[in-house]
């Protein structure tokens, strides 16, 4: 069964500081991995995705994530956060093939930015 763990429920960082949000997954084959962001009262927006190839993927808004197969991780990073990055972040794993129609989401990490 596929699963996603986001161990940090809430993270607070100062504006301008670097950020890393953790994501660990369990999947029986090569996973497709995603990071979504949800601003308050909004739906989810895709930040970035990994399917294959280069394990360091770039996304929108200056975010990047690195796929580490040996650690079953797909951590999200940003070198310098902005106040507008305050939101909820969800990691997801899934592969829409072989009859699997399920994208499994983690429980989310809420990011607070302080001045």
């Amino acid at each position: 069964a596929q699963s996603v763990t986001q161990p940090d429920i809430h993270i607070t960082v100062s504006e301008g500081a670097s950020l890393e949000l953790r994501c660990n997954y369990s999947y029986g084959a090569t996973p497709y991995l995603f990071w979504y962001v949800q601003s308050p009262g909004q739906g989810l927006q895709l930040l970035l995705k990994y399917f294959s190839g280069d394990t360091l993927v770039q996304g929108i808004k200056g975010f990047e994530a690195e796929f580490k197969r040996s650690q079953s991780s797909f951590n999200l990073r940003k070198p310098s956060v902005h106040w507008s990055d305050a939101a909820e972040y969800f990691c997801a794993v899934g592969r829409f093939a072989d009859g699997n129609e399920k994208l499994t989401f983690g429980t989310g990490t809420r990011l607070t930015i302080i001045p």
């Binding site: 996603v4 429920i9 497709y32 995603f34 009262g41 909004q42 739906g43 989810l44 927006q45 895709l46 995705k49 399917f51 969800f90 899934g94 592969r95 829409f96 129609e101 399920k102 994208l103 989401f105 983690g106 429980t107 989310g108």
Partner: protein, 113 residues
């Protein structure tokens, strides 16, 4: 602007009442999904549809039904609402054969009293 439209945005409902949440997309995506979002639980899949005329159960389907009469519409029905169905519901769509990205609506907040 292309995307997914959900209605209503918010609704308070008495237990035992029937409720249909509407979802319409104009991207001609084949696959559509309904998720519920609850604090501490993330998003959980309720039902999905790979293409018009077909539907499937997700991980939390009990108490919900869906239909997919055409490509654009994917309504979610609560036949007899219960307080545990208080949640935020998100509709999403995906182009089959694409890269797997889900496009989400802005959600419907449902409170069952």
């Amino acid at each position: 602007i292309a995307g997914i439209t959900q209605a209503p945005t918010s609704q308070i409902l008495a237990a035992g009442r029937r409720m249909t949440l509407r979802c319409t997309q104009d991207m001609r995506h084949n696959a559509m999904y309904w998720y519920r979002q609850d604090l501490g639980l993330g998003l959980r899949l309720i039902h999905y549809s790979n293409t018009a005329g077909t539907t499937g159960k997700g991980e939390v389907p009990d108490g919900y039904s869906v239909s997919r009469a055409n490509t654009d519409d994917f309504p979610l029905t609560l036949a007899s609402a219960v307080p545990s169905q208080t949640s935020v519901y998100f509709c999403a769509s995906r182009r089959r054969g694409g890269t797997g990205e889900l496009f989400f609506g802005e959600g419907s907040r449902l409170t069952v009293l």
